[in-house]
Symmetry: C2
Subunit: 162 residues, 2 copies
């Protein structure tokens, strides 16, 4: 990476950490912030608002992704870069994969988050486990009708893939 480019990434990442600070000050949720950049410009800012919005999915990255998509009028963030104050948890990492940005930069890591009482690293350990080894009681019941929605989807001629 060229020096100029590197400095720009650091500039944006610093902004993401600033968003996390703003979030803490606001009292709306945990100490996490994120920003989304397209063509060198910030198009969305987000911070954690889990506890104030009664939405366990409203992490900084999810908050920023939703705002950016709304602004662009799309359900993907192609050519965008996501900057997060902390390594995304598996939920947010999954959300980022679905949003399909071109890159992700983060500052603190999951172990720092764990040190301050957040479950990120715990969930990272759970995700790859087989169902029966997970802490969450999980059962797969192969219902007779389980493939019907997929078959209907396959037959749908006006479907929008994502």
């Amino acid at each position: 990476m060229e020096q100029v480019e590197w400095e720009q990434h650091k500039k944006f990442l610093k902004q993401a950490v600033k968003m996390a600070e703003k979030g803490v000050k606001s009292g709306k949720g945990g100490p996490f912030g994120a920003i989304i950049v397209k063509d060198g410009k910030i198009i969305a800012r987000g911070y954690n608002q889990v506890t104030s919005s009664n939405d366990p999915t409203r992490h900084a990255e999810v908050d920023a992704i939703r705002k950016a998509c709304k602004k662009l009028g799309t359900f993907e963030l192609k050519d965008c870069v996501i900057y997060s104050s902390c390594e995304p948890c598996p939920m947010c990492l999954g959300a980022i994969y679905w949003a399909r940005p071109k890159a992700l930069f983060f500052a603190a890591d999951r172990f720092t988050a764990a040190k301050y009482g957040f479950d990120d690293e715990f969930i990272y350990k759970e995700v790859p486990l087989p169902l029966e080894k997970r802490t969450l009681h999980t059962v797969c019941i192969q219902m007779e009708n389980r493939n019907v929605p997929f078959e209907q989807w396959e037959e749908k001629t006006d479907k929008i893939a994502y």
Copy 2:
């Protein structure tokens, strides 16, 4: 699990698959549905609305979790059970862990989703990889200010943990 209990789980899971069918028919997104049950009663229903709402995070489970939390006025789903028409993708599984229900039941699996063109299994493979091996270009920059939000959080006397 007792037979009566088992039949009840199947009854609710069938409803989740029905929600997926409803979603396909609505044209609002992919073929996935979910319901959330508390004390034997359905408190929220969701289906995938990614493409119609321009929200890549609006999978069935996330949709249902947000609705259930809103209804209960909480950011956790303690004592609730989540039923999903298909195995949750890592984003949704993460969301479920954060919501902390007591159990998860699903019908179709991630391999069926993959067969119909959905990235669930791909993302499951990506999540446990070290950053440098992921398809998504990911960089950790240990910014000098990276721990500031956590330190502010630690010092905050009126914080709400989650």
